[in-house]
């Protein structure tokens, strides 16, 4: 598993030869990993996300442009290649996204509009324990060849190693600050889920679905809606009540 190439990637993205930036920004290593993977595979862009059973757990880093859109979409919609890669514990290789509209009816049109034509998602996992996903995209359709696939898998392995090593340095029961930042960016979503579960008298899963459905219907991001719920500017009501507006 631990191939020579994985070590080369680690040497490169941990960038020992460069002086550490002051304060060492949390996402530096993840940004380097995304940039490096984009060049090496090669693809148009990349993103790394934490994943949890509640879905997308926060973006660690993404290259500029469509890659961020790709991450935001998947966490707003609760569907997309990274969620399938996470659930099925195997890579999802969609080399022609346009054909996958049935599989991901919300994700495909929006991703296509953002200029994404192919998506390759690789789970970051150790045995059955799943931690995150490395998402790669291309602005032109077409499969990865064997070498490119191997390269992408090595980047996923390197990302997993870095995740584990951060945990090695984390306090007991806690998260490393680099990971906590990403996880915290989604705080409002989980708080809003808790609020909606009481307001609408549904369980947590359904509360999240209600939030997602409304974000989708109102064409806004899940995070944005969640913040409104936490600020009590948007309220949900039990499903049998027709009116869900103030």
């Amino acid at each position: 598993m631990a191939s020579l190439r994985v070590r080369q990637i680690l040497l490169e993205v941990l960038a020992f030869d460069q002086p550490d930036p002051p304060g060492l920004e949390g996402d530096t290593v993840w940004r380097r990993l995304c940039t490096s993977a984009t060049k090496a595979v090669p693809v148009s862009g990349a993103g790394v996300a934490l994943m949890t059973p509640a879905g997308h757990g926060g973006t660690l880093a993404a290259t500029d442009g469509p890659a961020s859109v790709m991450e935001n979409l998947q966490h707003t919609l609760g569907e997309g290649p990274c969620l399938n890669a996470f659930r099925d514990q195997r890579p999802v290789l969609e080399h022609d996204l346009a054909r996958a509209a049935v599989r991901w009816p919300g994700f495909v049109p929006a991703a296509t509009e953002a200029g994404i034509a192919a998506v390759f998602a690789f789970p970051l996992q150790v045995g059955a324990i799943r931690l995150g996903v490395l998402d790669l995209y291309r602005d032109t359709p077409g499969p990865l060849d064997n070498l490119q696939l191997g390269e992408a898998l090595d980047y996923a392995a390197a990302a997993t190693t870095i995740l584990l090593d951060l945990q090695h340095d984390a306090s007991a029961g806690g998260l490393h600050p680099q990971l906590a930042d990403a996880a915290d960016s989604h705080r409002a979503i989980h708080q809003a889920t808790g609020i909606v579960t009481v307001q609408a008298s549904v369980d947590l899963n359904d509360a999240l679905l209600l939030l997602r459905a409304r974000a989708y219907a109102e064409d806004r991001s899940l995070l944005d809606l969640a913040q409104q719920v936490v600020a009590r500017k948007v309220t949900f009501h039990p499903l049998h009540a027709e009116d869900d507006h103030e």
Partner: protein, 242 residues
């Protein structure tokens, strides 16, 4: 064989020690031996810091007690300790010039037969995790290229160590990480539930949850679970005052 050819050979050799069920001690020993050869030193030791910042010799080119003693001694004074605490490389240190700075280290090193020394840090994410310490019988003058080579060797060792600690404990670390991520979500959800039930802000809800956990000597995660499944009613947290 030219130096370039030899360098390429050494990097391949170090890479080989990393393949499959690699032994990290073997890697560190090879690294010490090759750094002595390539940087024209006479002895080397690889020192790692434990969690309490105590420096331990993990590998060295010699088992001679008087040399090993030089590494141990540096828990109190010497270039290793300074390199470890500052993260700065210290090279071409002439022992005749450090009498004031490190008197005990200097005496012991000269007694062991060395005239100069280098200390190169093993760095990971802005932290120093160890030091490669070299000793030379003659006064040494490493060029900038030599120093860069020494640093490259240290970086390979750092990746080896990083992989060793993650591969060996992969499942445990992955489980810890997964559960830390999950309990964080549970906590946020519970804040939301309590804030809605009690008609307070999520920040106030968190204050109440922590107070409840402290009073009842319960883990915050368990309190969060109790709030979500209703086992702990909101009234139990809001009553009781300050």
């Amino acid at each position: 064989m030219s130096r370039e050819q030899r360098l390429a050979q050494v990097f391949v050799e170090l890479a080989d020690t990393l393949v499959d069920d690699f032994d990290v001690l073997e890697l560190l020993h090879t690294l010490c031996e090759r750094s002595v050869e390539l940087l024209e030193a006479d002895a080397a030791g690889l020192i790692l810091a434990d969690q309490r910042s105590v420096l331990h010799v993990m590998a060295s080119t010699t088992e001679e007690a008087k040399v090993l003693e030089l590494f141990v001694l540096q828990n109190d004074e010497g270039p290793c300790l300074d390199c470890y605490s500052t993260g700065e490389r210290m090279v071409n240190i002439d022992l005749s010039e450090v009498e004031q700075r490190w008197p005990r280290f200097r005496d012991a090193t000269i007694t062991a037969g060395y005239r100069s020394t280098h200390a190169i840090p093993l760095r990971l994410r802005g932290q120093v995790i160890g030091v490669l310490n070299l000793f030379c019988v003659e006064r040494s003058t490493l060029s900038e290229a030599d120093v860069a080579l020494g640093q490259a060797l240290c970086d390979i060792a750092t990746v080896g160590l990083l992989q060793e600690r993650t591969v060996r404990r992969a499942e445990v670390l992955a489980e810890q990480l997964q559960s830390a991520l999950n309990s964080r979500i549970l906590l946020e959800q519970a804040k939301g539930v309590l804030s809605e039930r009690a008609g307070i802000s999520v920040d106030e809800a968190f204050v109440l949850m922590r107070r409840h956990a402290r009073r009842n000597r319960q883990q915050l995660r368990l309190v969060a679970g109790g709030i979500i499944d209703g086992a702990i009613p909101a009234s139990e947290l809001t009553s009781g005052g300050d």
